[in-house]
Symmetry: C2
Subunit: 158 residues, 2 copies
DNA sequence: TATTGTTATACTCTATAACTATA
DNA sequence: TATAGTTATAGAGTATAACAATA
């Protein structure tokens, strides 16, 4: 009978995971989970969640965007955008504005408070990324970003 | 009054997303979501979910692993492992075996069927990754994998 | 007392479908 | 008819807490 992993490796040691670590997708998931957890930690004092942070950025960058467009940008359903916009509007970070010529839709705009919070949070997130990527030099960070960008473009709408 | 993004960009165009695309974390998420969706598509005919695929690989690689150890490897709670192991056991891919000396725990082992399915699925996933990474040459793929690995190691248990 | 596996429960996130008011 | 926003509901996926058996 083979020894089980516990006995061989001891209690605190890592298990072999070559079977999964051979895949880029698995490493992508691990890296993403690390970033995700640290982002939640960083965003906590701002009152934003990751998805409301993202939505706020898109609204700041695209004034008078509609909720349907915001849904496309966030890659979620329109119904999900409602609570996100509610949350940002209740915090006085964005506003739903009437559109002349189409009374069905809203034009979303960031408030001054929203733009200010975005600017401050943008810096926080840069600090978070500096921490996560502290083991890579500037050129390596750019390479990582560029490779990820190409993977995204290559697989977009294909 | 500024023109809204719709009017400026037209209906089918992408919105500006520089605010988010500046962050490596956002690109990591986009890339991860692409891979995740394609993985689900690839795994569908095998009957495995991503998490049961991962669990199967770990059990194949670590015979006689316990459920608690599997939970650590998968980075989920022990309670969540129960249904995963149930699923794999019901499909006759792994078995719960008695451990001499500790009647509380199980020694998990992949069945022959489980090892065979793992081998076949491993190939499917390699094909999936070849597709996702088709825009990168061999050296670029290795660079991406290496950079992701370093990010993971740098941030592990810190 | 501590640990393994288990169950029950709750919470988060998101999708689906049906509705309303407009177009 | 089609579209924008909304609501209600359901489904994954996972965490938390309590429990029985065993150490």
């Amino acid at each position: 009978m083979k020894k089980r992993a516990t006995e061989t490796a001891g209690k605190d040691e890592q298990l072999a995971q070559t079977s999964l670590r051979q895949f880029v997708g698995y490493e992508m998931k691990l890296a993403y989970l690390l970033i995700h957890a640290d982002m939640m930690r960083i965003l906590k004092p701002t009152g934003l969640r990751i998805v409301t942070f993202s939505a706020l950025g898109i609204v700041v960058e695209n004034p008078d965007i509609s909720q349907t467009q915001l849904a496309q940008a966030l890659q979620i359903e329109r119904s999900g955008v409602v609570v996100i916009v509610d949350e940002l509007e209740n915090a006085d970070l964005i506003s739903r504005n009437k559109v002349e010529g189409d009374r069905r839709s809203y034009a979303l705009r960031a408030t001054l408070k929203g733009r200010n919070l975005w600017s401050r949070t943008e810096k926080l997130v840069h600090d978070h990324e500096d921490g996560i990527l502290s083991g890579l030099d500037r050129s390596e960070r750019e390479t990582l970003k560029s490779l990820l960008g190409r993977v995204i473009e290559d697989n977009r709408k294909s």
